[in-house]
Symmetry: C2
Subunit: 294 residues, 2 copies
Amino acid sequence: MFEQLGLIGCGLMGGSFALAMKKAGLVQRVVGYSKSPSTTERARQLGVIDVEAPSALLAAAGADIVLLAVPVAATEATLKAIKHLVTPQMLVMDVGSTKADVVKAARSALQGQLGSFVPAHPITGREVSGVEHADAGLYHGRQVILTPTERTLTAQLRRAEDLWTQLGARVSSMSPESHDAAFAAVSHLPHMLAFAMLSSINAQPNANELLALAGPGFRDFTRIAASDPKMWRDILRANRDEVLAQSRLFKQALQGLEDAMQADSDQPLEDLITLASHTRAHWRMGAQRGHKDA
Amino acid sequence: MFEQLGLIGCGLMGGSFALAMKKAGLVQRVVGYSKSPSTTERARQLGVIDVEAPSALLAAAGADIVLLAVPVAATEATLKAIKHLVTPQMLVMDVGSTKADVVKAARSALQGQLGSFVPAHPITGREVSGVEHADAGLYHGRQVILTPTERTLTAQLRRAEDLWTQLGARVSSMSPESHDAAFAAVSHLPHMLAFAMLSSINAQPNANELLALAGPGFRDFTRIAASDPKMWRDILRANRDEVLAQSRLFKQALQGLEDAMQADSDQPLEDLITLASHTRAHWRMGAQRGHKDA
């Protein structure tokens, strides 16, 4: 399907994409670049990429597909660096967790070449990062959200849909703004709450004793708190307004539980927990919208 | 080690204890009682118990060890029901997630027989309940916290320690009050936050769409929100003051993150997330106190 993948950013997300493309037989050759030369070298040693490129520009040269898997804050500079190689025949994608800022950066950097860019957000990840954890199965069975602009070329959008589908992902499209509002609720705020949970324990004088007593509930609840700090700094700042709006709604819900804990009767608290528990028990990851039990 | 286990409450925790005791060869016979006769019958059909008892009293009759695995709010009534069978030779334990209220209930119900009672909290659980999920391995590799009173007989405390150790658990002791303060931080508040997360999403008009987009981070963060509502209503109300105190500390930490998100510089947010992420990444469940990296 593709001759040459130019991979810019050979970390967990980018490296896993390269491995998945190779495994699916969708690409002949992968030319990779990472900001750190040792990462690029390691990616080649691990067979994640075939050729090391000394710059983003040289990674994109000769490619018919380019994947940006860099921190979202680096999107604009990276696209600017490769801009004069981007043609209408080339598919360019990113894998960032925020989309309004990425689209804004792409408009500014690509200008007349914006049509080749298909913003993408695969709903996956790990609490670990780095090319050593790259995994050909990272995207299999996951959702991928595409947020095309009004200038995106239909041909490139279709290629992107086909590609992710062939990697075993389920593809849907929405606007960058709707995407960011939704992921503030279901991803960015949960990360922020998990960071706050660890901060709150760290601030207590017996933090080590508390942590030694924590069990499997704490383990799963806080898993995402181990995520990459720079990546999450960028996500939370890029999507700040939506995250703060979700935080306000969350604090109202928390206040509702606190009030119910102090009510005369057991019933209000039981009712709130029952609704939350029922919703979570019937939720299935990646179920079709409106068919939560599917 | 024991002749007969009287199991009062044949759900996930009680059923798993019976299976673990049998598997370890620590008990000859299990006589079980559950409030619902169909649960007791199912427990016998599944081989979790050997004999069905029609009451808590008859489950305890002839037992040299009694385990209460009932909602913590039912502790006092259950201990009262078996009180005149409790002897200094009998080991009586519970498995409740709160301990100050259980000790208070035991003082009131057992009075002169309080010495036989060793309050226990195994740090384990599932988001599912019921005897069908009983698992002989549920306690293996977990911590068990014992919170003896000043009246607890040393002989029974030692038997409890030996028993849990033989089931593969790591045993430690603390006061009921210290226990409840610590578990408000590392277990009860996380559950409350997970319930609040689901409540907050449910309250939004596009809740189904949001849930359909949620991925693996949300899945793990909210797993504990599917926990049993009546059990958690009781825990949160029994340990209300400590949980509210932890909620206050948590909201301060959350405010700190919100302030950092809105700061002029990226650095304050990166610093807060880095500390949280580092703490979580180096945490190991059940590591010795003060040796988090062990």
